[in-house]
Amino acid sequence: MKPVIGLEVHVELKTKSKMFCGCSADYFGQKPNTHTCPVCLGLPGALPVPNKTAVEWCVMLGMALNCNIPLFSKFDRKNYFYPDLPKGYQISQYDEPFCLKGNIKLDSGKTIGITRVHMEEDTGKLIHEAVDGQEVTLIDFNRSGVPLVEIVTEPDFDNAKDVKEYLQKLQQIVRDLNISNADMEKGNMRLEPNISLRDKQQEINKKLPDYKVEVKNINSFRFAEKAIDYEIKRQSEILQKKETPVQETRGWDETKQKTVTQRIKEEASDYRYFPEPDIPPIRWYESKLNEIKSQIPELPDEKSNRFKKLYSLSNDDIKILIKDKDITNFFEEAVKIGKKHNLTPKQIANHIINKKINPSDLLPIKLIEKIISSSLYEDVNLDEIKKIVKEIIKSNPSSLEDYKNGKTQVMDYLIGQVLKKIKKKIDINTIKNILKNELQ
C-alpha cells in the first residue's frame, strides 16, 4: 500500500490593508473587533473592492511556482453558514483562479504538481470559553477579510518527509518574495494534508483511492510530518482488515499525538458557487504580467545553484547561508570585500557559520578585518595556552601579589612572558582573558 498525499496550504499576505476593505491587515495581538468596518463585518449594504497588491502578490507567487497565469480571472462566492463568516459567503475563486498547473522540485529531483494558486479572504476567529459558568463561543472579526492565498498540490506526495521539505521550500519562497512572514505560530501559514493509501493496482492504473482523509489543526511542520505518519499507519491497519477508512476530516491532537475524528462529512458541502456580482473580473495584459515577473527576486533554488557555481560551497553550507535574506546579503558583500584580501568564500562561510555571526552586529568589512587579524595568529589550542599561563603565574608569584594590589601593568609583563614561552603568534586578547581568569 502506497500513501497518496495532497496538500492545501493557506498563506496570509502581509499587505497593509485587508483583501476587500481598507481595514489594517495587521491584526495579530490587537484588541478584538477594533479592525473592522461595514465590509469585513458583513454589515448590510457593504460592498467589496479588491486589494491591488494582494492580487499581484498572488500572481507573483504563482509565477514563482511555475504556474500558468490565465489572462482572464474572476472572483466567486462560496456560500455556507458559520459564525466566523460574516457575510454567510466567502469571496474566493472557483473555476477561473489566478494561477494554474505549476510545479516545484524537491532536492531528490521529484516534481510536485501545483494544481492551483488562488485568492480568498480569511474568516473571523473563534474562541471557546466559559462565561458565567456557560460554555460559549466568542467571535473576533479582526482577522475577517485578511488576504489569503491558497496553494493546492496534486496528490503527488507519497511520504511525510517530502511534505516537510515542500513546506520548507514553499515557506522560503514566500518569505523571499516578501509577501508573507509565513509564520505557523502566528497563523500566517496554515496547512491541511489529504491522506489516503492505494494498492499496487491503483498505482499502476494511476487511479486515486475512493476515499481520503483531511487532517486539520496542525500547527508546525514537525507535527505535519508526525500527523501524516500517524495517519498512514492508522489507515493501513484499517485497510489490512479489508475495510475502507471513513472519508472524514480529522484533527491532530498535540497532547495525544494522534489524529481524532472531528466530524464525518455525510455529503460533500454544497457551496453553490456563482460569479461574484459585486466585483468586475480581472483581465491581464502581458505587459503587466511581465512587470510582476520582473519583481520576483532570486528564489531559493536559483540562488542555491548560483552559490554552488560561484562559491563552490557544500550543500549544507549553502542551505544555511540562503535561509535568511540578511545573512545571504551579508555573506555576498563580505565575499566581495574579502576577494581584495585574498580571502576565499569558504573561509568567510566557515566564519559566519561556525561563529554564528549576526549580520546586524557588524558590517561585512568588519568581519573581513576580524578574519584577517585572526588568521595572522596561529591556531593554538586554548588548553595549551592555559597550561603555559598557569606555569608563568607559578613562576612569578610576586606578579600575582602586584596584580591583586592593583598594579595592572604587571599584566603586560606576564603577557610578554607567555608569548616568549609559547613561541607562537597568538592574539594578545586571548592571553589577557585567560590570565585574568587565572589571576582571580
Binding site: P38, L41, G42, L43, P44, G45, A46, L47, P48, V49, P50, R77, N79, F81, P83, P86, K87, G88, Y89, I139, F141, A268, D270, R272, Y273, F274, P277, D278, I279, P280
Partner: protein, 460 residues
C-alpha cells in the same frame, strides 16, 4: 400652509427670499405624514432630527450658502442605511437595527442640503411589486382607497404623490421604482446600473439593483440624478464615467428623435385602456417631430423566467449575512416572500441544478441584452407600458406569488440589460394613475429626461 404647489426650484427661490422657512416646509410635511397615517407610507418619521436640520438649513440660507437641495425635505426607502436612524428593510429581522454608517447616496444628498424627513415603507427586502409584503403592513395608494401603490418602493412613491416629501429615494431591481411611479402618478427614474452607488443600500440582487428616485416633475428628477450619480470608490461596479449635464437636455427639441415601440410589449395581456393612452401620447410626440417605428425584442418572453432565476439566486446569497449574531434578529423572523425567494435561489444554485437554471439564465440574459443593443442601433429610445394592468385591490394577488411576479413583465428587461428607464405619468384611468416607460441605452438618462419632459408638456 401647503407647499405642494411649489416646485423645488420655486421653493428654493422662496426660501432664499425668506417668504417662509425650511422649518415651515418641514413641519408641513410632517403634518401631512401624520394626517395620512392610514396610508402607512412611513416606517420611521424623523420629526425632531428633521426640524433640527431644517433650522440649520435656514441658518445656512441666511448666510447666503447655496446647495442644490438646501432645506428641501426628502424621504428615503427603508433599505438605505442612515447612520443613527433605524433601518429595517421593512422586515422584522432588522426591526431594531441602528446603522453604524450611511449609504454613499445618503451622504451625497445630505451634502446637497436635503432634509431627511423619514424612512419609507416598502416590500420587505424589496421583494414585491405591490407594497403588500411589508412586515409593517401594506402601504395604500393615495389615489384610491384600498388599492395598491405598486412596489417594492411603495412608501417612497406615495410619500411624493401625497405631498409628504418633495423627493424620495428608491431602488429598482425588476421595476420597483417604475411600477409604483406609474401607479402613483409621479416620475420615477431607474438609472443605468452602476450610474449611482449601491454602497450602504441593502442589497437585493447585486447585478440588478439600480438606485433611483421619485419626483413630481421630470426636471426635478434630473436635478436629483446630478447629485446622486457618479463613481464611488467603495462600489466596484460604478464606472469612472463623467456625469452628464442632465439639465442641459431639458426643454430640448425632440425633432428627429427615433422612438421604437417593441411589438412584444403591446400584444395580448396589455390592458386596452392603457394601450390607448400610450398610443395617444406617442402620437403627440410624433406630431412634434419624433420618428416612431415598430421594433422587436424577440427574447422578451423569457425575461420573467430569466429574472426569477438570477434575482432569487443573488437574494439567497445576499440575505445569508442576517444570522442574528452581529446585528438584527435571527433568521426565524423572515416572512414568507423572503423565505420563498431564498429557497428558490438556493435551489437554482445548488449542486446539479446550476447549469440547468443559473447558467442558462445568464445565457438568456446575454440574449436580452443583445436584443436591446440591436434595437438601439435603429432607434434612440424605446417606449413601452410600465404595467400590463391597472393597480389592483390590496389582498387581491397576495396568495398567488406567480401572478404577482408576472406584473414585472415590462420592467425586468431593463434590469437584465442594465439600461436606464424613466416612468412618466400619462393620466388617469377610472381614477387610477397610469404611467409610460421610456428606455434608452446605457448612460442615456439625459435623453430620457428630454423625452419625458416632452410627454409632461403634452398636457394630455
Amino acid at each position: 400652509m401647503n407647499y405642494s404647489a411649489y416646485t423645488i426650484k420655486e421653493l428654493k427661490t422662496s426660501l432664499k427670499k425668506k417668504h417662509f422657512s425650511s422649518e415651515n416646509v418641514v413641519r408641513d410635511c410632517i403634518q401631512e405624514i401624520e394626517d395620512s397615517k392610514h396610508l402607512n407610507a412611513f416606517i420611521t418619521v424623523c420629526k425632531d432630527e428633521a426640524i433640527e436640520n431644517a433650522k440649520k438649513a435656514d441658518k445656512k440660507i441666511k448666510d447666503g450658502i447655496d446647495q442644490p437641495l438646501l432645506g428641501i425635505p426628502i424621504s428615503i426607502k427603508d433599505i438605505y442605511l442612515t447612520r443613527g436612524i433605524r433601518t429595517t428593510a421593512a422586515s422584522k429581522v432588522l426591526d431594531n437595527y441602528i446603522p453604524q454608517y450611511s449609504a454613499t447616496v445618503v451622504e451625497k444628498l445630505e451634502e446637497a442640503g436635503a432634509i431627511i424627513i423619514g424612512k419609507t415603507n416598502c416590500d420587505a427586502w424589496a421583494h414585491g411589486s405591490s407594497g403588500e409584503n411589508s412586515d409593517y403592513g401594506p402601504t395604500e395608494n393615495d389615489y384610491l382607497e384600498g388599492y395598491v401603490p405598486g412596489g417594492s418602493s411603495s412608501g417612497s412613491a406615495v410619500s411624493v404623490s401625497a405631498d409628504m416629501a418633495f423627493v424620495s429615494m428608491g431602488t429598482d431591481t425588476g421595476g420597483s421604482i417604475r411600477l409604483p411611479a406609474s401607479f402613483c402618478n409621479v416620475v420615477g427614474l431607474k438609472p443605468t446600473y452602476g450610474r449611482v452607488s449601491r454602497y450602504g443600500i441593502i442589497a437585493m440582487a447585486s447585478s440588478l439593483d439600480s438606485i433611483g428616485h421619485f419626483t413630481r416633475y421630470v426636471d426635478e428628477s434630473a436635478l436629483v440624478l446630478s447629485i446622486t450619480a457618479g463613481h464611488d470608490p467603495k462600489d466596484a461596479t460604478t464606472p469612472k464615467k463623467n456625469v452628464d449635464d442632465y439639465e442641459s437636455y431639458l426643454k430640448k427639441d425632440i425633432k428627429g428623435i427615433k422612438i421604437g415601440l417593441p411589438k412584444e410589449f403591446f400584444s395580448n395581456g396589455l390592458d386596452t385602456k392603457i394601450k390607448e393612452k400610450i398610443e395617444k401620447e406617442v402620437n403627440s410626440l410624433e406630431s412634434r417631430g419624433a420618428k416612431v417605428e415598430i421594433i422587436s425584442l424577440p427574447n422578451t418572453e423569457y425575461a420573467i423566467a430569466c429574472y426569477y432565476i438570477i434575482q432569487p439566486a443573488e437574494v439567497s446569497s445576499n440575505l445569508a449575512r442576517y444570522d442574528g449574531i452581529r446585528y438584527a434578529n435571527d433568521r426565524t423572523h423572515f416572512t414568507d416572500e423572503a423565505k420563498r425567494r431564498i429557497m428558490l435561489g438556493t435551489y437554482v444554485l445548488s449542486s446539479g441544478y446550476y447549469d440547468a437554471y443559473y447558467k442558462k439564465a445568464m445565457q438568456v440574459r446575454t440574449l436580452i441584452k443583445n436584443d436591446f443593443d440591436e434595437a438601439f442601433k435603429k432607434v434612440d429610445v424605446i417606449i413601452t407600458p410600465v404595467s400590463p394592468a391597472m393597480p389592483w385591490k390590496i389582498g387581491e394577488k397576495v396568495n398567488d406569488p406567480l401572478a404577482m411576479y408576472l406584473s414585472d413583465i415590462y420592467t425586468v428587461t431593463a434590469n437584465l440589460a442594465g439600461i436606464p428607464g424613466l416612468s412618466v405619468p400619462i393620466g388617469l384611468i377610472d381614477g387610477l394613475p397610469v404611467g409610460m416607460q421610456i428606455l434608452g441605452p446605457h448612460f442615456s438618462e439625459g435623453r430620457l429626461f428630454q423625452i419625458g419632459q416632452a410627454v409632461e408638456d403634452s398636457g394630455l
